[in-house]
Amino acid sequence: MSLEIRTEARGAARRVALSGRLDSDTSPQLEELVAPWFHDAEVNHVLFDLKELRYVSSAGLRVFILVQKALGDRGGSVVIAEMQAPVAKVFEIAQALPSVSIFRNVQELDDYLDYIQRKEAGELDE
């Protein structure tokens, strides 16, 4: 039973790729990773690549709800891309992603990440 987490920080965005199982044993790892962002006003976008995540239980849902609460408080965005069917089903039953944008694939997520970077750098016309 394992969870692999790969994170990337880019300006105000954090990209998190999960692989494996997010359950009662492994979710503390994820919670430990994201907890510092809850009160860090410099983190405004959290993007989850869930392509390799094959299992989630309520322990995992808890972390996603906490991230939404924290980012929602300061008008930040939470994005998820490419949920496997069993994972999407659990999120849906629990209605656990009310304020998450769901992208169809990881390419869209990475395009969005680039967009955020360019906007922050003032490269885009407002």
Binding site: S57, L66, Q68, V90, A94, Q95, P98
Partner: protein, 148 residues
């Protein structure tokens, strides 16, 4: 693992039991046991995914609540017959009905959403039948998922 041999005219049945010690057996071990049972019972993939979540939600809840830190034994039985898989979880702790826990309000905006109650909600939605019984000094939870 205990298996019953099919007799003519009777559907094949597979059953297995695991006793876990709430203070000592890891969830990973219990989950590994159940995954092997699901393999042996040739449970279809979508039912398998649902059942693994049900298993975790119930076992973790019972381990957390049944003995409240004092150790104790939890007996898990899985049975597969032609039409369904039934999971029975028994503990000898104080009366505790997992199904009596309040359902979370899932329509609340994210800022007001509570963190608890999602596990029981998932169990209800992923099983076809669930029941709780207090029998003697035991809590017994029985969950059934129909499948072919």
């Amino acid at each position: 693992m205990e298996r019953s041999t099919p007799r003519s005219g009777q559907s094949a049945r597979l059953s297995a039991s695991l006793s876990i010690s709430s203070g000592e057996t890891s969830f990973a071990e219990a989950n590994g046991w159940f995954e092997r049972f699901l393999d042996d019972a040739k449970v279809p993939d979508d039912a398998r995914a649902d059942l693994l979540v049900v298993f975790e939600e119930v076992v973790v809840n019972v381990v957390t609540h049944a003995y409240r830190g004092a150790g104790g034994t939890i007996e898990i039985t899985a049975e597969r017959d032609a039409d369904a898989l039934t999971l029975t979880v028994r503990d000898d702790g104080p009366p505790f009905d997992l199904l009596a826990l309040p359902e979370p309000d899932l329509d609340l905006p994210i800022a007001q959403r509570p963190l608890g109650g999602l596990g029981v909600h998932l169990v209800r939605r992923l099983c076809d039948r669930i029941g709780y019984q207090r029998l003697g000094d035991s809590n017994i939870l029985v969950m059934t998922k129909a499948m072919h």
